[in-house]
């Protein structure tokens, strides 16, 4: 069965520092991978997605992620964190289900705190 692991529950970085959030997935086929962010009181917002092609994916808000098949990883990075990036980040993999639909399997999330 598919699964997503985000090993870091909480991460604290200083504003201006670089950031890397880890994500490992388990899925038998070619994965469709996503990163979402949830700010307080907001819904889940899509940061970026990987379906195929270039393994380095650019997203919104200056985020990028790199798909590494050999490591089953899809880590999220940002070169310089802003205080407004403090939020919870979720990695997810899409799986096809009976009837042709799709659903997302999420990791448990990483809470990012930014110190000024």
């Amino acid at each position: 069965a598919q699964s997503v692991t985000q090993p870091d529950i909480h991460i604290t970085v200083s504003e201006g520092a670089s950031l890397e959030l880890r994500c490992n997935y388990s899925y038998g086929a070619t994965p469709y991978l996503f990163w979402y962010v949830q700010s307080p009181g907001q819904g889940l917002q899509l940061l970026l997605k990987y379906f195929s092609g270039d393994t380095l994916v650019q997203g919104i808000k200056g985020f990028e992620a790199e798909f590494k098949r050999s490591q089953s990883s899809f880590n999220l990075r940002k070169p310089s964190v802003h205080w407004s990036d403090a939020a919870e980040y979720f990695c997810a993999v899409a799986t096809r289900v009976t009837g042709g639909g799709n659903k997302l399997t999420f990791g448990t999330g990483t809470q990012l705190k930014v110190e000024l």
């Binding site: 819904g43 889940l44 899509l46 379906f51 289900v97 009976t98 639909g101 799709n102 659903k103 999420f106």
Partner: protein, 114 residues
């Protein structure tokens, strides 16, 4: 365009009571999804509608949960009777072209059962 709207944003009910959550998807989006996050755990899929039909309800926890989507527009998720373990945040999402076209999530309903 208006986003996915969920209400109430918060609900506190007693064990054994009934609660109905509502989701208004983006107009024209045929696909509607419900997800749930229990405290400290991952966000889990509950079910998927295509228009008014249930495409996949494999994630529904038990028969105390009933989801409907009237006329392929808004959807409701009823919990009857509510139990303590039903507490969590319930998210709704919609999409036009299926998952690969991108979901838009609502801000969620935080349900607390006491």
């Amino acid at each position: 365009e208006a986003g996915v709207t969920q209400f109430p944003s918060h609900s506190v009910i007693e064990k054994g009571q009934t609660v109905t959550l509502r989701c208004d998807p983006i107009s024209g989006h045929d696909n509607l999804y419900w997800y749930r996050r229990v405290m400290g755990k991952e966000i889990k899929f509950l079910l998927h509608f295509v228009k008014e039909s249930k495409q996949d309800e494999s994630g529904m926890p038990n028969n105390r949960f009933l989801a409907e989507r009237t006329g392929g527009t808004y959807s409701t998720l009823k919990v009857q009777p509510a139990e303590l373990e039903d507490s969590g945040v319930y998210f709704c999402a919609s999409s036009q072209g299926g998952l690969l076209g991108g979901y838009t999530f609502g801000s969620g309903t935080r349900l607390t059962v006491v």
